[in-house]
């Protein structure tokens, strides 16, 4: 029953036998799905994005992405910290943060190309105000510098800076998570509470603060890490209790009802004043408690429907999402790039529904293909300087779906 492991599903480096926990494929699956949803949501006016979860509740794919990233970071670097010590593990974490920074700058270059193109091809008296956004091309000295400092973050480019800051500060948190996980989690919650009390956030350019407040979102990241390092087992009896499950379903339905009201004024008018006074505004920047609750409710239902070690996880249907989740940084960046490209197709060629569906499907297909290519390349690399391996490894051909 344990022989299943060599079925080429596990791309992560083989775990030393000392660590019992095998990489949970569910993490890769849901991170891959979250990346697809983020891609769909990032194409403005994309009709296909009605399938994404943000339209049916308070939280969206960002919560899933940050939580799973915290989980896997603690899982991978926690092992490194135990085996190789604090310094080596910290160096690896920082190297990762640097890679993400480089990726962010790469995306910014693409953004610059896009905005420069728009400024040359667009003019309309209806949009005199909106075209003011292009003025920033007149001050590249300031804006580009601010972008390198992570203060100027154009649309759809806020997630990576958050991730960079979270990783850059992760080593001490991980150190504490390994020794006293509960204290680490409590500290994280304390930072979250202090953030609300004192309005902590990092400054942004040209005004305001970060759209994803790191002081707030760290909670989800650290909570992910806490779950990875044994917390999940501790929570198991709670998560599987029927009472909590019922509460979760009830809350999800409530969120669904409220969200539908945003699109249907008639429905919104049935929501009592006290309720709307209490829930609004639902703060994404500071990771509103209502959003956390919605994410947790989703998680409870998800682990119920998809239990650990679920046999079907290894079926080819889920392979594309899993493989995207295993190369999350590359897939994320490609997704942002493709969403720019997709939007370009909508405005330059056509935004008919058929085209929107085609662009969405094609975009995901490209993300999957790239992820397959990467995992094939990683395997080749790992095999080292030997003769070129024969083609036709399961990575490239085995998708079937």
């Amino acid at each position: 029953m344990l022989v299943r492991k060599d079925s080429a599903d596990v791309v992560a480096p083989a775990a030393p036998p000392a660590v019992a926990t095998e990489r949970d494929l569910r993490l890769d699956l849901f991170r891959g799905l979250a990346l697809w949803l983020i891609f769909l949501d990032h194409i403005p006016s994309n009709a296909v994005s009605w399938v994404t979860i943000r339209n049916y509740g308070f939280s969206d794919a960002t919560e899933i992405f940050v939580f799973i990233s915290g989980f896997t970071a603690a899982f991978v670097y926690g092992r490194a910290m135990r085996d190789q010590g604090f310094v080596v593990a910290s160096a690896r974490v920082l190297k990762r943060a640097w890679q993400i920074y480089v990726a962010h700058v790469f995306l910014f270059a693409i953004y610059l190309a896009e905005i420069a193109y728009i400024s040359q091809t667009f003019d309309n008296p209806l949009y005199t105000e909106e075209m003011g956004i292009l003025d920033f091309l007149k001050h590249p000295d300031v804006t580009i510098m601010q972008a390198l400092l992570l203060k100027f973050k154009p649309v759809n480019m806020d997630v990576l800076p958050l991730y960079i800051v979270l990783l850059a500060c992760f080593s001490p948190a991980l150190w504490l998570l390994l020794r006293a996980p509960n204290i680490a989690l409590a500290t994280s919650a304390l930072v979250y509470a202090l953030m609300w009390k004192f309005d902590l956030n990092l400054p942004a350019y040209p005004s305001g603060t970060w759209a994803f407040n790191p002081f707030a979102w760290q909670l989800l990241f650290v909570f992910g890490g806490w779950c990875a390092l044994g917390g999940a087992q501790k929570l198991a009896p709670w998560v599987h209790s029927p009472i909590l499950r019922t509460l979760a379903i009830g809350y999800l339905l409530f969120c669904f009802y409220i969200t539908m009201g945003w699109y249907i004024p008639r429905l919104a008018n049935t929501v009592p004043r006290i309720v709307s006074d209490y829930i609004y505004p639902i703060d994404k920047t500071n990771l509103d408690v209502l959003r956390i609750a919605h994410f947790l409710a989703l998680a409870i239902i998800t682990v119920w429907i998809v239990p650990k070690g679920w046999e079907r996880l290894k079926s080819p249907i889920f392979k594309p999402a899993i493989i995207c989740g295993q190369h999350s940084l590359e897939t994320f960046c490609l997704g942002v790039f493709l969403s720019f490209a997709g939007h370009f197709v909508f405005t330059a060629l056509s935004d008919r529904l058929v085209v929107q569906i085609a662009v969405s499907v094609l975009g995901i297909a490209i993300m999957v293909a790239a992820a397959y290519l990467l995992s094939w390349y990683k395997r080749v690399e790992r095999r080292g300087s030997g003769p070129r391996p024969p083609a036709g490894k399961p990575g490239l051909v085995g998708s079937g779906a």
């Binding site: 008296p125 005199t128 006074d277 505004p281």
Partner: protein
């Protein structure tokens, strides 16, 4: 999301779902549910009963048209449409429009205009400038609250107007959080939100207007503003109707 709902609504209810008033030109027609037809405007109802309706439009650049177009922009079109729909009522629409002004900076002039004009209705356009400058969303929301409260204290109903749908700049101006907060402000204060973004988007989807063209001509811009003025007038008149008689309003 909205596009799908519109498509569904059109499929289910067909032409009956559109506002098919005789005076509404075909290009302006939209799906019924896109206009809030439930929220009353008691102060407007009272003003109409007294045969004198003063309206204040406060907003940024997208509430005006460049060049000669002051009487072609939606505030002037609103005045014309209201006068047409409310015979015997003296309708006056005053404007305070400044390109590039944020909601927070609009509070002071709003308060002084409320005192001098004493409008029965304040139409407040917001969202674009804030999104372009990525103003703090909390501060945006707080400023909206402040302005809405000030207007109501001064005896004025309020309608919020959100940003325009601008497909070409959509991927570089993130309207999302600002649109959401305007929607929520409207829900909390129980005032109508005129969903300019949604309306323009459905025009784009229906092929009524092409918003992606590179042009210097004002023709389409003027038509769009005319439709917005008419639909706003529709919302105002309907809101007043709901609130009749003023003694016991809708809520």
């Amino acid at each position: 999301m909205r596009g799908v709902i519109i498509a569904l609504a059109v499929a289910l209810f067909g032409a009956s779902a559109t506002i098919a008033k005789a005076e509404m030109p075909a290009p302006c027609r939209v799906v019924e549910h896109q206009l809030d037809r439930e929220t009353g405007l008691p102060r407007v109802a009272k003003a109409i009963a007294n045969k004198k309706l003063d309206v204040l439009v406060i907003g940024a650049g997208s509430s005006s048209l460049p060049g000669s177009g002051a009487d072609k922009a939606y505030p002037a079109r609103l005045e014309a449409a209201l006068s047409e729909q409310l015979p015997g009522v003296t309708v006056k629409v005053a404007t305070d429009i400044k390109p590039g002004r944020t909601v927070a900076d609009a509070i002071k002039p709003l308060v002084s205009n409320l005192a001098s004009i004493k409008p029965a209705l304040t139409i407040w356009q917001a969202g674009t400038v804030e999104a372009m400058r990525s103003v703090d969303v909390d501060a945006f929301s707080a400023a909206l609250d402040q302005g809405i409260d000030a207007a109501r204290r001064a005896g004025s109903d309020v309608i919020l107007v959100n940003a325009q749908y601008s497909p070409r700049t959509e991927s570089i101006i993130a309207l999302g959080a600002y649109s959401d907060n305007m929607r929520w402000a409207a829900l909390r204060h129980e005032i109508p939100l005129f969903d300019r973004f949604g309306l323009m988007k459905s025009w784009a989807e229906l092929g009524t207007f092409d918003f992606t063209a590179k042009t210097r001509k004002l023709e389409i811009a003027e038509q769009v503003h005319d439709c917005i003025g008419r639909l706003l007038a529709d919302l105002v008149v309907n809101g007043a109707k709901i609130s009749e008689p003023p003694a016991n309003g809708a809520r």
